[in-house]
Symmetry: C2
Subunit: 250 residues, 2 copies
C-alpha cells in the first residue's frame, strides 16, 4: 500500500474522530483540495498518459516539452495549449506520452521512462478502453479485475516514487451507436468505468467523468459528431474533452 | 465600389442626418452589429483564409468541412474546435483555406474556388506579413499601396458576390527579436497593419488587433514563447490567437 493510500486512510479516520490535531486537520484539507480543482503552480510538470485518445497522432520522436507536434491533435494538445497560454508566466513543462493501443500492462512496462523519469507534478491518466475492447475482440485475456489490480499497482508505484504528484484520472468512455460501439459493450464496459472511478476515490485523484460528458453532449449533437468511431474523438469531441480536463485545474 | 461600401457610406450620412428613416436606422444598427461581436447562426459557413499562419500544416487534399486534418494545427483549428463544441446544435460548416507563402495576389487568384464557391457566411482573413516580408527580401515588388489596393479589390469582389457575408479581418503581426523579425521591419511593416485596420473600418469588418495581442502577451512570457520565428505560432501563440478570434463571435 502506498504512503498516500495509508495517509488517506489515516486522515479519513482522523476526520471521524472528535479530536483532530492541527496536522490531521491540514491533512483533511489536503484531501479536500485533491478532490476539488488542482492549482497550477510555478514550474509544474504536467504529463498526459494514456492510449490512442491521448496520443492522437503525436510525433513520438520529439521528447521535449511544450512542443506542438509532440502533443498530438487531441484533447491533450488542446488542454496543453490553453494552459500554456493561460499560465504563461509559470514556466510549465507539458508532455504527452499516450501511446495508441495501450492497456494498463503497456503503461506498467514503460512507466519508469515515460512517467517517473519525467517527474510530473500533475499526472493525468486515461486508460481502459483497450483493456475492455481487446478482451472483447479475443486479443487479450485480462478481466476487469486485472484492470483494477494492475491500475492499483501502477498508482502505488507512482505514489511511492512521486509522493506529491497530483493525480487526474479520466473515465474510459464509449459512445454507443457509432461504428465500433454497440449495446454489446454494456454493462461489462461499465464495470471498467466504475473501477476507474473507485481508484480515483481511493487515491484522492480528481476524476473526470468523460462518459457523462459525452452522454450529455448527445443532447446537442449525435454521437458521430463527437467521435469518429465511438472511441476516438472528432475535433468537436477533443474540444469537449479538453474543456472537461481544463475544469479540473485552476 | 461594392454595394456594402456604398451602403455603409449612405448609412453613415444617414446617421449624421436629423431625420433617419426606419430602414436607415436599421442600417445603422446593422453597422454597429458588424463592429461588435458576430452572432453564430444556424447553418453558418465559416471560412478561415490567409497564409501559413492560418494554413499551419493542414492536409490540403481534404476539402470537406469540420475535418481535423483539414484544419491544420494553428489558431484556425483551435477556434474551429471550440466553435463546433460550443455551437454543436447549429449545424455549422467550417473550412480552412489558408496557404503557406500567400500574399494578397495569390488570394485573388484562387478566390473564386477557395472563397466564393464555398459560400461563407462568416469570412475571416489574415493576410499581409508576406506582402511585406517578400518585398523586404527582394522576392516581390508590391508596396503597401499594392497591398491595400488589391485587398480593397478582393473585398469588393467578395461583397459583390456574397453581399451578406460577415467579415473578420486580422491584423498582420510580427514579434520583434524572435528569429526573422528585428527593428528593420518597422515602421514599414506598421503601414501594412494600418492598411488592414483601415480596410476593416471601411468594410465594417470586425478587426482583430493581433499585434496588440502579442505585444501584451510579452508581459507574461517572452516573444519566443509565443512564436517560433517571429511570424509563426507556438502552441501557446496559436491558443492566444484563437482566444482573440473567439472573442469576435458570440
Amino acid at each position: 500500500m502506498s504512503n498516500r493510500r495509508k495517509f488517506i486512510q489515516h486522515s479519513m479516520t482522523a476526520i471521524g474522530a472528535t479530536l483532530a490535531s492541527t496536522s490531521l486537520a491540514k491533512a483533511a484539507s489536503s484531501i479536500t483540495e485533491r478532490k476539488s480543482k488542482i492549482e497550477v503552480k510555478q514550474q509544474d510538470i504536467i504529463l498526459f498518459q494514456g492510449d490512442s485518445i491521448t496520443d492522437h497522432g503525436r510525433d513520438r520522436k520529439i521528447t521535449s516539452p511544450n512542443n506542438l507536434q509532440a502533443m498530438g491533435n487531441g484533447y491533450a494538445m488542446l488542454a496543453a495549449g490553453t494552459i500554456l497560454n493561460q499560465f504563461a508566466e509559470k514556466n510549465l513543462k507539458i508532455y504527452n506520452r499516450g501511446i495508441s493501443g495501450n492497456k494498463i500492462p503497456q503503461l506498467e512496462e514503460r512507466w519508469q521512462s515515460d512517467c517517473i523519469d519525467l517527474k510530473p507534478t500533475i499526472l493525468s491518466i486515461l486508460i481502459g478502453v483497450n483493456d475492455y475492447w481487446h478482451k472483447k475482440n479475443g486479443d487479450y485475456k485480462g478481466s476487469v479485475k486485472t484492470y483494477k489490480d494492475n491500475y492499483n499497482r501502477l498508482l502505488d508505484t507512482t505514489l511511492n516514487k512521486l509522493p506529491n504528484v497530483k493525480l487526474i484520472i479520466g473515465e474510459p468512455f464509449a459512445v454507443k451507436d457509432v461504428q465500433y460501439v454497440d449495446n454489446s459493450w454494456f454493462p461489462e464496459f461499465s464495470s471498467y468505468q466504475s473501477a476507474a472511478r473507485d481508484l480515483a476515490k481511493e487515491y484522492a485523484a480528481v476524476f473526470i467523468p468523460y462518459q457523462d460528458v459525452f452522454d450529455r453532449a448527445e443532447s446537442r449533437a449525435n454521437g458521430a459528431y463527437w467521435t469518429t468511431d465511438g472511441v476516438h474523438t472528432t475535433m468537436a469531441g477533443a474540444n469537449l474533452m479538453a474543456e472537461a480536463w481544463l475544469n479540473t485545474i485552476k
